[in-house]
Symmetry: C2
Subunit: 142 residues, 2 copies
DNA sequence: CGGTATCCGATAGGATACTG
DNA sequence: CAGTATCCTATCGGATACCG
């Protein structure tokens, strides 16, 4: 999804009556840019269970590549949501844990997870209904 | 933030056999796949203010292309989060509104928006700190 | 007005190989 | 073990142009 900074098009002289989250942008885009990718939430959820080493995260999150795990943890560190500790042992050992801020984010993510669980079936049903009513629809809708 | 010298007493126990949200997947991936893109949340936020016509959404969300607005609303309809009503007038008129389920999702999205607003500055500060400590870092971290 | 259809560039992310 | 460094492709999404 890669929602980088809002394109230059946000240069709207006329103060659009109501921004969606537009000009008053609560910063939610920054958060969603992070949460929106394929892996970040999974890493946060796993780390919410406790400190984890790189390898542990890797095994706990089926399907993630080493490259993406590295990128994801790094971005989380950069945002101050995760703390990284490296011990110069041999072999090297590195572990990750949520910061205070990371834990508070995890809490609201759980809110989303709860909603997801509660509406999982309803969404699936809605999709089936829609797919039945719209045979041969674009695959872009998945 | 770097290498604190806390002994490695971190017991690798972590037996937690369950995936991060892996196989027992609470369905949160489905939700985040939807929320994760560039526009969905903005559309939901705008629709949380009331019924909107296609053109109104388009103008309320600066930067979105017609194509993406079409795709986004369609996906939301498919998931049962938004209801679409078309009136066969000339010129055509179509409006969109959140369904009951859509409104409940909007509520939890607002929770995320609140968190974002509350931590916006802290995140920006963390990033600045990290960027200062890691000059010449990959642009992939943005 | 409210869309489709088409083309196209950017990039997210997988696979693989190598390193301290 | 915990990463880097490359390569490569699938997809996301912008820019047109056209349509009922």
């Amino acid at each position: 999804m890669s929602v980088t900074n809002t394109p230059i098009t946000s240069q709207v002289s006329a103060p659009v009556t109501t921004g969606p989250c537009g000009e008053d942008d609560c910063g939610i885009r920054d958060v969603l840019d992070r949460l929106g990718d394929r892996w970040t939430v999974l890493v946060i959820v796993e780390l919410s269970k406790g400190t984890r080493r790189f390898r542990e995260l890797h095994r706990a999150i089926p399907g993630i590549s080493q490259r993406m795990l590295t990128l994801t943890t790094k971005r989380l560190c950069r945002d101050g949501l995760v703390e990284r500790n490296a011990y110069p042992t041999i072999p090297p050992q590195v572990d990750y844990r949520l910061t205070e801020m990371g834990r508070s984010l995890a809490d609201t993510v759980f809110g989303l997870a709860d909603w997801s669980r509660d509406h999982k079936n309803a969404i699936a049903a809605a999709r089936d209904r829609w797919d039945a009513d719209h045979p041969g629809a674009e695959p872009a809708l998945r």
